[in-house]
Symmetry: C2
Amino acid sequence: MTTALPMNVPMSGLPERVRIHEVGPRDGLQNEKGTVPVEVKAEFIERLAAAGLTTIEATSFVHPKWVPQLADAEELFPRVAALASSGVRLPVLVPNDRGLERALALGATEVAVFGSATESFAKANLNRTVDEALAMFAPVVARAKDAGLRVRGYLSMCFGDPWEGSVPVEQAAAVGRRLLDLGCDELSLGDTIGAATPGHVTALLDALTGGGTPLQRVAVHFHDTYGQALSNTLAALQRGVTTVDASAGGLGGCPYAKSATGNLATEDLVWMLNGLGIDTGVDIGRLTATSVWMAGQLGRPSPSRTVRALSHQEQQS
Amino acid sequence: MTTALPMNVPMSGLPERVRIHEVGPRDGLQNEKGTVPVEVKAEFIERLAAAGLTTIEATSFVHPKWVPQLADAEELFPRVAALASSGVRLPVLVPNDRGLERALALGATEVAVFGSATESFAKANLNRTVDEALAMFAPVVARAKDAGLRVRGYLSMCFGDPWEGSVPVEQAAAVGRRLLDLGCDELSLGDTIGAATPGHVTALLDALTGGGTPLQRVAVHFHDTYGQALSNTLAALQRGVTTVDASAGGLGGCPYAKSATGNLATEDLVWMLNGLGIDTGVDIGRLTATSVWMAGQLGRPSPSRTVRALSHQEQQS
């Protein structure tokens, strides 16, 4: 049954291919309680690559005081860097110039900075205003580009904020454009608290294209807090987005926003894209096996419905 | 925050209003382990009506041997029948003529029959071929229509089947048309094992409209087994469907299809529709409180992500 379903039935107006930006090892493990041994993290990344994922955000060069779960970045990155030779992109998060320095020293070729669409979250997460955060990123992005790196700009709280509630579409679009103007190659629109619905997604994407931003440079990053991540993804694909962030097994959330439970699970996304006949290059069986294995390492079941359903069938057969 | 979010941002091409066909008391409780006391069921239905749901499938007049969870139909229905005077529709499932007899005796004004798109499920669920099942329903539907009742035809396994795997779109459309041709006022397309993806939904709806079936007569009934229910719903709304089945708190599944875990949760649906500015008449706060209360009665948490997120916020505030 797992090979026969879902039926491949394309839908008009969607892209032929989607690139999945896998965030499990970084965004996922960053938000899990307890520390995962470095060799388990390395195996996780290797297994994700073997399952066909071609962009795997590996770790974060943030100060260990803030994210102790990823304090082993210097030890982890060299263990997996060889995957680059087989075409796997391994971006790493760099919060500031010191983080970029560490990433460059290890030979990273792709980095990401992490901005906020709202003042409240900029204050809570970065202890800066939105302007101050962008000013901090400017030399980081410039230096990364000078070094030939590809740079992604994350934008958090694009669709709602736990302190401010709703976030105007034009506000999120404006900060997003500023991240791209700094030199970021790609902008990832984060629905950090899972508050987006499909019309909101369409409106924000339209605001960006209306301002001249091509959607080839835009990724979407949805959280499944209210179960909306996949319908939001569908709306984004219908508008022309071709890069989607997801986390294997639905790992992670956001420690600074209590109601943010769960990234979109990569398996739930791949199931939908498989049904739509959209190529991702991912083997859903191998990916699910990886998430089941990681759930065992973490000592709790995956929240992904697809992982649960497929692993349940596996046990029965 | 619960009042400010989601932001109301309509999406073009969607209906202004959606009627939710609430199946929790029947499809939900039918598939829960253990028996819920009749007074709890009655309170559940009353609370659903108070939350604004206007179509609540109350129970099933199936033989108690097959569905012991609903053996109290004769006792339950009279307890809630007064809701009809405030405009609440209370359909009941009738598997055959004997079931219709019982429903008529209690003054039911709306009934549903339950067909299958596949031979394997017709055999497993009804011990009949598809043709034999339709032949059994024919006099039931005719008699119900003669008595002035409204009749819904459920069609299971429209998008996949645990025995047969994929189900051709034309096959599901053809059986669906036969149910309508028997005299059913409405056809509910069931994704019993959760295998549908959005292009498949669109294709089946197009096959039905291509055969002359207006989508005003078609409802969709998605399961969240692989997390696809809400994106499938969005695809159906985009095609013009305005009636959506859902189960408060995500209660239930299907006992004859082991991998079928979970109806679409009404709260997850209402959250999306609220964001899209589509009117349902439902108060999501009252509905969530009802599902939290019912989860307490059942002794396990609701699988609905919206119920979990909203009740978590409630506990924090």
